[in-house]
């Protein structure tokens, strides 16, 4: 909140001092660095055997309930939902198959945090995008703005909150690995700094170009993500959309930055017109 207040003053200042400082750059406030030394994870789809140990570990760590059918039998969810922060999916066609893990991407410049009207979602400098449920008003703007369809809602609750992976921010702060990567038996899911993860990813692509689809997903997508992917088949097939490199907050920020100018500009124009149209008032009345 402090940061935002400060930003606001900056912008208000920009609005008032528009003539003095026409090129004041407040964009830096919106975009953190590329978080090279912040926490990150790498998922290598070619090493994943689909055991779902990560999925179970995540439920345990976050205390999320299992979904049961009407006979109290465990039912496998088919996508992320209000009780499922991560899921292993399988892509299969006649020639090939690949597992894929879904979870929050922890974008470097997250759309969700930028659109939330009450700053309930926050990109921490350590890497995780965390959710402060006590602030949330339940507008669900984060759900529509996330390019990866990650935030999910508790539709059956009377007082629902958003549910999404928090990157095990508490474990990472205590110097431990996220629960999911710690549980992974094959090394398909590893954690470390973003720079380390990127180095490993590119190393693997270079060492085995025949096994991999030549792209590290998350390196540049929407400005980069802290959750990185390498895989043997195209990401479209794995349910990861082709995205531009421009961070989504970069699209809306210039407009939001212009708001004070619009406000004062409109007020100024209206005042001017008012004086123009009423310039003969005295004569009229007299």
């Amino acid at each position: 909140m402090e940061v935002n207040r400060r930003d606001f003053l900056k912008i208000a200042g920009a609005g008032i001092g528009t003539l003095v400082l026409p090129s004041l750059d407040v964009k830096a406030a919106a975009i953190p660095g590329n978080l090279e030394n912040a926490h990150a994870m790498l998922y290598d789809a070619t090493k994943c055997v689909g055991c779902r140990a990560c999925q179970v570990a995540c439920k345990k760590r976050a205390g999320l309930p299992y979904v049961m059918d009407e006979n109290q039998l465990y039912e496998m969810p088919t996508d992320l939902n209000g009780d499922t922060w991560t899921i292993i999916k399988l892509y299969q066609d006649t020639e090939t198959y690949s597992y894929v893990k879904k979870q929050c991407m922890h974008c470097v410049a997250p759309a969700c945090a930028s659109v939330c009207p009450v700053a309930a979602l926050e990109k921490t400098p350590e890497g995780p995008v965390v959710y402060h449920s006590y602030k949330c008003i339940g507008c669900r703007y984060c759900m529509t703005a996330c390019p990866f369809d990650v935030p999910k809602y508790e539709w059956d609750e009377t007082n629902p909150i958003i549910q999404k992976c928090d990157f095990c921010a508490d474990l990472q702060a205590a110097g431990q690995q996220p629960a999911c990567s710690a549980a992974c038996p094959t090394g398909a899911l590893i954690s470390g700094t973003r720079a380390e993860m990127l180095a490993i990813a590119h190393q693997r692509l270079a060492d085995h170009p025949d096994q991999y689809f030549n792209h590290v997903y998350g390196e540049y997508e929407v400005g980069g993500t802290s959750m990185l992917y390498i895989a043997g088949i195209s990401y479209e097939k794995l349910g990861y959309p082709t995205l531009k490199n421009q961070p989504i907050p970069d699209i809306t920020w210039p407009y939001m930055k212009a708001v004070p100018f619009v406000f004062f500009g409109m007020a100024g124009a209206m005042s001017a017109i008012y004086y123009w149209t009423h310039r003969n008032k005295e004569e009229e009345e007299g």
């Binding site: 659109v115 009450v118 949330c136 008003i137 529509t144 989504i248 809306t252 407009y255 209206m270 017109i273």
Partner: protein
């Protein structure tokens, strides 16, 4: 000013069958909304892959767009000094005020945690378009309340506060115009965060401009539509001269909108979808032709403007065009799961609209909305003071 408390009296306008239906629908809608606060959003058909439904598309996006008449008419009368339109100011401000109250009520139904709505005041995120909209709507509703208050104060005969409000009319009107410019356009900015979700026919960096222009045009149409129907209901004379004057500006606004839109479609290369995607093309053309081009041509024609049914039909098309545009961009052509509103969602949407009509009706019955011949003098002095 020979008015006083006795101005607050029941004016004996007849209560028609229509009004009784409106009362029933309003009561049903409010009960469903109350039920929603007990059981939560499970009575809606919204889901994880369709988190926004008709409450956003219709009640919020369309409702606020159509309420733009309040600031446009205030600007025309008070700023551009076209006094001829003065008689329509009160009902228009009232319509705007009611629309914003309805938008707030919709939010209370739609937000997952409506009890937290006041968090907008203490937790700030200036990067969020919705944060700005929330603030503008709060402040603008207050501005509308103040702009409308002279009617109540006059009825009560409280001269001191009346004088005070009248002395700040112009600053209030200017504040209202600035706030409206901001949030009407920011409703478009809000959708800019979804470049991968909204069909390119609707997604454009110029969306804020489109939302602003269409709101001005459709807001004026709404004013005409509303004054025609209240004239009939409350046995007033439909001021065709005024309606004709207001609508004569609409072709300019719509013309600007259409020109920018066409250039945008050509320059951005979106026109390739005109062949590729038949269904969006169909809806896009209906919206642009039926909801903007045809009403613009109709309003440009003096014969249409001097004919009440022509005016009402053109207004109806234009309002429909705005609603269709907001539905297309926030629901129909926004990627997500299939969605059709549940009975509860429809009941609340209809119920809140009816509640708006009920509030308007009550104001007309209890407050001096239309100057009586006897009170002409009073309104004359008000006009001069303004």
């Amino acid at each position: 000013m020979a008015t006083g408390v006795n101005n607050i009296r029941l004016r004996k306008y007849p209560v028609g069958v229509g009004m009784i239906i409106v009362w029933i629908a309003g009561a049903i809608g409010l009960s469903v909304a109350a039920y929603r606060w007990i059981v939560g959003l499970r009575i809606t058909n919204m889901s994880d892959n369709r988190p926004w439904g008709i409450w956003i598309s219709f009640d919020m996006m369309s409702g606020i767009g159509l309420a733009a008449g309040a600031f446009s008419i205030a600007a025309i009368v008070y700023i551009f000094n076209i006094k001829k339109l003065y008689p329509i100011v009160r009902p228009t401000i009232l319509t705007g005020f009611i629309s914003y109250i309805l938008a707030a009520l919709t939010l209370l139904a739609d937000l997952g945690l409506p009890q937290n709505i006041w968090h907008l005041i203490i937790y700030w995120n200036i990067h969020s378009p919705l944060f700005e909209i929330g603030w503008c709507v709060m402040v603008y509703t207050t501005v509308l309340l103040l702009e409308f208050s002279p009617v109540v104060l006059e009825a009560l005969g409280w001269k001191a506060p009346l004088k005070l409000i009248q002395s700040i009319t112009i600053p209030l009107v200017i504040l209202g115009i600035s706030l409206s410019t901001m949030h009407q356009s920011t409703l478009g900015t809000m959708l800019l965060a979804m470049p991968y979700r909204i069909h390119p026919f609707w997604y454009s960096p110029l969306m804020p401009v489109y939302f602003f222009l269409t709101a001005i045009a459709a807001g004026m149409a709404m004013t005409v539509f509303e004054s025609y129907h209240s004239a009939r209901t409350y046995q007033q004379k439909f001021e065709i001269g005024i309606a004709s004057k207001i609508t004569s500006w609409i072709p300019y606004v719509l013309g600007l909108y259409l020109v920018i839109k066409v250039v945008d479609v050509i320059v951005s290369g979106t026109y390739i979808y005109l062949i590729q995607d038949p269904w969006p093309t169909f809806m896009f053309l209906i919206e642009i032709m039926g909801g903007a081009l045809i009403p613009a041509l109709m309003f440009a024609d003096k014969r249409v403007r001097s004919n009440p049914s022509g005016l009402v039909w053109a207004s109806f098309l234009l309002m429909g065009g705005l609603i269709l545009n907001r539905f297309n961009s926030t629901l129909v052509f926004m990627n997500g799961d299939f969605y059709f509103p549940s009975a509860a969602e429809i009941a609340v949407s209809i119920g809140l609209t009816c509640l708006g009509i009920i509030m308007f009706d009550a104001a007309i019955r209890f407050l001096p909305m239309y100057p009586n011949p006897r009170e002409k003098q009073a309104s004359k002095s008000l006009e001069n003071a303004a």
